[in-house]
Symmetry: C2
Subunit: 415 residues, 2 copies
């Protein structure tokens, strides 16, 4: 039925102006200052009442923070999540048994103030590693937030979850299906190291579609692979990363199965939100002056494509060259060549935008003036063709600047 | 016989003052200026006549430069190497078929001027990627060098193989066995990126011991694993790395088998030379203000120990913190946790010198004043105890500074 001429094969979603997580109906946010850090809001609650389906992806770091461990356990037991409590300033990582208890206690406190069951609540933290959460402050904050939950508060929460990010990261899209408006919106934080102690990326997304947990997991996994898993600012994995999507179903639109057009439409919409938010993380990269897109094609599989792209993206030499607006493509070749696989260097082409710089593994004469002009732009694009298979990937990254070193090295001295 | 009381189980080698590759008898060097670069010497020959045994290790980079490919082929066919021709300024990498032909042609030219068979000659290059060797200049250089080979010229050659290194790297040791003086000495280059285009480490070692090629391979492999393979300045693998050891046997001391004391003694001496030279590469790290030793113990195997150490060493966050003399140990924990293995984070201890900073994966109170004082030193030492097995590794690395970014980003602009 769905596949009748009534529906296009593809959907054109609409970007909601000033869209954020509370652009999604029945999503409420509240943020406040409980005193974990000095001046900025440091505690937030996202509330999504009713029957929901939640899916999450978490850092693979072995030093996963207490909120990561606890939220992962919560989600393993129950997918109906109604609230997320987020604190900034303290990561609650490397805090042992006491840290786990504090994350659980945060859930207990929220359960009381929000009148929800403990199993319906997740926690998330970002900030300095190695400090315990001050529970009294957390309780004060939850108490305040629980009384101020509002449907237009997404922007405040997008700001409260930031640490040293310069800009809040919010985005929402809408599409119609069967006269129902399906809205997907989210917020994110991360600017490489945020809090000069660690790299943390948090992202919280809401949608009013109705979807099963299995399908939501599947779509989230695919979308994260292409978006948040394809950004790299400094190759440093965080202990606190998490992305949470909650679907409250209140649009009335229901995804019946994986072959339906609605499944496809929603996947595209969620992809758009995650892509936009992940791009904003790169654009806010600490000290960065460039946003660099590295497209890899002709790889034998997706993993290979991503490994090659990330090896380039994480090369400090490459990043320094980009900051200096100097192409130095030998550094790209050396990075590709250091990936541990069966790439044949004699097949590889490197393009800067559409200028062929290296062909079949060999230097090539090219228009250096045109290349120099492209490198002066804020957005730079490379294409690497491995000329082997059909897989591709696109990695977003930054340059590395004096400012980056300053922020990450001299923070303590500047205070 | 050897194991009689006449010989100690262990040897105390003597460091030769101002020792270099020509401290080894019957080793001759010559360097000159052939015009590949503007002001500095750019071509060198190391000559070791007679019957020799040569062993080499080469970069694993898929974009291995032409001299790497050609020298590897030469060594596969013949282990009696009498000469190495080294040019600086052009890496002869990403130069395709013509690059290979030029490396072979360099050997032909050297064969004529040195009156050696082609099979007895190796070539090595360092410098900018993607340019062809100017063979006329190379011939002029070889012609000059072939007439100026001297037994006291090691220092000049140690300088001529440098690119933007600040200091030449030379070292030699001597020990006595059966009244024979066994001398092992070498030179190296590398200061991370040398030539702001790539990272290149070259090292050439000579010894007057007599040894079979199999045993020399074995000893070199072991020693490189613990020395040059345990330094990391920026995690960027080069296209031109090579380490060559040539044994001319003229001391008269002969290693009979792998169980002999002389084998053990020589291994220790070669290890000392490689360790010293590799440390000098780190000490000369571009823009570096610190030399950081990361010792990993309690690992389940050597690979795990090395992976953990290198992950920390290559964390830009960690390196920035070291530059800022700020401990930020959460960055060390996050780096360890991002290694893809079965480490249990709850077992891990982190020490700064002998101060325990993190215990069993948890933050610990420690003397911050004492720690701050240690971080102000040029030499900093961390110990990570994984508390799992018995394997260990020691990684040497640098901090990352403004100066590093300047050298690698703004080189072109400064010219």
């Amino acid at each position: 039925m769905e596949k009748s001429s009534k529906y296009k094969e593809d959907i054109d979603y609409e970007i909601i102006q000033d869209g954020t997580i509370t652009s999604v109906p029945e999503v409420f946010c509240s943020s406040g200052h409980c005193g974990i850090r000095k001046w900025k809001d440091d505690i937030s609650i996202i509330l999504i009442p009713g029957n929901t389906v939640c899916s999450g992806v978490f850092t693979k770091n072995r030093f996963a923070a207490a909120p990561v461990i606890v939220s992962r356990q919560q989600l393993a037991k129950n997918r109906n999540i109604n609230a997320i409590v987020i604190n900034s300033g303290i990561a609650n990582a490397c805090t042992g048994y006491e840290g786990l208890k504090n994350a659980e206690k945060t859930i207990e406190i929220a359960s009381e103030y929000l009148d929800l069951k403990k199993e319906n609540i997740l926690v998330s933290s970002t900030g300095r590693i190695g400090k315990q959460l001050p529970l009294e402050k957390i309780e004060k904050g939850i108490s305040f937030c629980s009384k101020n939950l509002r449907a237009d508060n997404g922007h405040n929460t997008a700001k409260a979850i930031l640490t040293i990010d310069k800009h809040p990261k919010e985005f929402a899209v809408k599409f119609f299906y069967d006269n129902k408006a399906i809205i997907t919106g989210g917020i994110a934080k991360g600017s490489v190291m945020v809090e000069p102690d660690m790299a943390t990326t948090l992202s919280f997304i809401a949608t009013n579609i109705y979807i099963s947990s299995g399908m939501l997991d599947c779509i989230l996994g695919h979308c994260v692979d292409d978006t948040f898993n394809c950004i790299s600012t400094d190759g440093c994995q965080s202990t606190n990363d998490m992305i949470i999507v909650i679907a409250n179903g209140c649009s009335g639109a229901r995804i019946e199965d994986k072959d339906s057009l609605l499944y496809k439409y929603f996947k595209k919409a969620l992809h758009a939100v995650l892509e936009n938010l992940s791009r904003k993380v790169v654009e806010d990269g600490e000290g960065a002056t460039k946003v660099i897109e590295i497209e890899i094609k002709g790889a034998s599989d997706k993993n290979e494509a991503r490994s090659v792209g990330k090896k380039i993206a994480n090369s400090v030499l490459f990043k320094s060259a980009m900051y200096g607006e100097d192409i130095n493509w030998g550094r790209i070749a050396a990075a590709i060549g250091s990936v541990d696989n069966n790439i044949d260097s004699g097949n590889i082409d490197i393009y800067l935008s559409d200028i062929l710089i290296m062909e079949k593994g060999m230097a090539k004469d090219y228009d250096e003036t045109a290349a120099a002009a492209l490198l002066k732009e804020r957005n730079i694009k490379f294409l690497i063709d491995l000329n082997t298979g059909n897989a591709s990937a696109r990695i977003l990254t930054n340059d590395i600047s004096y400012e980056y070193i300053k922020i990450n090295a001299l923070y303590k001295k500047q205070k």
